[in-house]
Symmetry: C2
């Protein structure tokens, strides 16, 4: 779907994040209402995407990926927003990575066509979703396998459907998540794949390094995976001329780029990196990861100004019931809380005539309930009911899934558009 087709869709006025909106308003019309967050045109809490920062992050990653001569298949589970997927594709992404068959279906309904499923495809109804999409010749798909039982189930299903499923062999690490651990498992899975020569085509190798914590062990794992890929290529087990080699979450993509960009396997190699959180970044776990990348990776260092946090939540002070404590109308229903609580960044008093000010460092969120956050303050803090606060977040994935729509805003916090999510 082209950008203008997204723009013609009606906005969802039934749920939060918008406000009192003209009936049958399209996304394009919404971006032309001139609404501004600071003018209280929008019902808070609201999730906003800062457009200039999104643009910066898109360009930064495009340049980084190009410098390594690899390709980007950003993990779409982070945002589950096809309009954002389209921007990623417009900035050079090869296709979109997803985690489940329904996620692939959701993106397909909005016009996305090239997918990597970075998971095993398990279960009859999930196979049915993919098989139905495979009837469209423009749909391109591959998924990963790590067990003979799954390979045989896929072989049976796709053989009966008269289709071919493209698969990647997944390697893992002891104590980690999914993926082959041993030569015995690898041999069993390869043998199973050979039982279904029509239905299953091995086209590459996939890993997820993010379960490891140390760079040295990650590099060792990546090197072992390159060696295994080389051997599979030497045994002529890949069914397409170009071999896919895919890895990288949002924390170690630089190291994966470094290890995966150079090997000569005697066949064309397509390296697909899958970071998803670069688009919005954050001020928590991914800022932390980025600091390491900026310090250690020569390409990132040379490129300068790195990823910027682009996803912000605005909420009202709902109550200041006692000295040193404010209750904010923002809760676990609105923001991730599993990797650090939201951080207050700006304070604005509607009608004051003053622009938003940086919030003092000693205003901190101490706890969250479903619909409320507890803000700890010094006793003399100048904060009152009806004041607006901006919050930066840690972990975009679990913030996006709290919103069916997010507003695009310019640097003045004027609403310029809206993107839908399909969780």
């Amino acid at each position: 779907m082209a950008e203008n087709q997204f723009q013609d869709q009606a906005v969802n006025t039934a749920t939060k994040g918008l406000g009192d909106c003209p009936p049958a308003c399209t996304r394009q019309q919404l971006g032309q209402l001139g609404w501004n967050i600071l003018q209280e045109d929008v019902s808070l809490p609201v999730a906003v995407l800062r457009q200039s920062r999104i643009e910066h992050n898109l360009q930064w990653m495009q340049q980084f990926i190009r410098r390594y001569g690899v390709e980007l298949a950003p993990h779409g589970k982070t945002t589950m927003s096809p309009a954002l997927f389209q921007r990623q594709l417009d900035h050079g992404a090869w296709g979109i990575t997803l985690a489940t068959a329904p996620q692939v279906h959701a993106a397909y309904t909005q016009g996305i066509r090239r997918f990597l499923l970075a998971n095993q495809l398990v279960g009859k109804a999930n196979m049915a979703i993919i098989s139905r999409l495979q009837q469209d010749p423009t749909f391109s798909f591959c998924c990963v396998v790590d067990s003979a039982a799954n390979v045989d189930a896929l072989g049976r299903y796709f053989a009966a459907a008269g289709q071919t499923l493209r698969i990647l062999l997944e390697y893992g690490v002891e104590g980690g998540r999914t993926g082959l651990r041993s030569p015995r498992q690898e041999a069993e899975v390869l043998a199973a794949i050979q039982r279904w020569p029509q239905a299953l085509h091995l086209v590459g190798v996939e890993i997820y390094e993010g379960v490891l914590q140390q760079e040295a062990e990650i590099r060792a794992f990546l090197q072992s995976v390159v060696a295994r890929t080389r051997e599979l290529a030497a045994r002529a087990l890949f069914r397409e001329e170009q071999i896919i080699l895919s890895g990288a979450g949002s924390a170690w993509y630089d190291v994966v780029a470094d290890e995966f960009s150079s090997p000569d396997l005697g066949q064309p190699l397509q390296v697909l990196l899958r970071p998803g959180c670069y688009l919005t970044h954050d001020v928590g776990i991914y800022r932390h990861a980025e600091q390491r990348i900026q310090a250690n990776n020569p390409v990132a260092r040379e490129m300068g100004r790195s990823l910027l946090p682009a996803l912000q939540l605005w909420a009202y002070v709902q109550s200041v019931p006692e000295s040193g404590r404010a209750i904010i109308a923002l809760g676990k229903r609105d923001a991730a809380f599993d990797a650090g609580l939201p951080q207050v960044s700006l304070h604005y008093r509607p009608g004051s005539g003053q622009p938003p000010l940086a919030a003092p460092a000693d205003w901190t969120v101490s706890a969250m309930m479903d619909q409320h956050a507890f803000l700890q303050l010094p006793p003399d803090a100048d904060l009152q009911v009806g004041d607006m606060l901006a919050f930066e977040i840690s972990h975009p994935c679990l913030t996006f899934d709290k919103w069916r729509q997010l507003l695009l805003v310019d640097d003045d916090l004027t609403v310029t558009g809206i993107v839908e999510t399909l969780f």
Copy 2:
């Protein structure tokens, strides 16, 4: 909206929790497909509501509330499902409690008309949502106030709109959440209310006791609130003949019923209790709360068989990569994880001809990622890729908000219907 109007709405086939579904399928048609979870007709993971248990819980709470002669305004933020709200109303609920103006609007679009907003109404756009709804004479609404600043903002807004807003005075406890702490605050808020005699009508008192941990302190707080309400009544500050007195989350509703059901204030009293989680219950925080209620509350004890967990998640074993560990295709994207991780209750092997069996007690979820759960097993556990597991949850609120639709199932796990959520 009547039940049959919900049934005529099309199901959302764009997102998870359903599967490969006929195009333009209505909710009613979906319930007639004969789909069964165990026959793999549905894409897992899926959230199911066990219909007979929902029915049991509805009846149980209706009877409990009747026995105390109070009324039920269940907190709808738990499910945000207007079809479930309608069932609660059909089982005698007075109206629906909600947490935010957009939630009220969402429920209104689906036909719900009587609301208690158990929060301050803050911000121009949120006031605009309520003001627009108040143009419908069948819309009934009240919200709470705990600050003079908020009262004046409401007074200004609703005076300008030529409307009257019905408000409840909220009392709180030191170290708690929102609500008045001191006689000085109370006097300030009452004075502010009197500045807006047309726009603001004080119609009652509201509290949330769930921030306290001990029964004795909860009873003391409730008694103090009854005393304050009596004094406000004596001062003729309430603007309607019948005074609203509202409290109770899902953990202490029995104690609130006990304390609030008897006072004579010299005016008719309408007690509104607001538990929301009774509808689905859980096997975590609310089972724990229910054990206390069953042990201590004479009415609950006499009624016997208490609330039953009715919300269940089904997911596939996606990988068994090493001995003692299985990776399940169920993550933080699908289940609450803030009050205990999901618990495996049933194990089923598709095609085995065996019914689901109770899962051994030593199969435990040890961690969750966005899209995966880690299941710890004894080394000899008989579990394989493609097996199905049922999970019980703790904290329904943060499970419901992960799903745009949940399937209603009968005792054989045949799908009988579907309910939408509007988060």
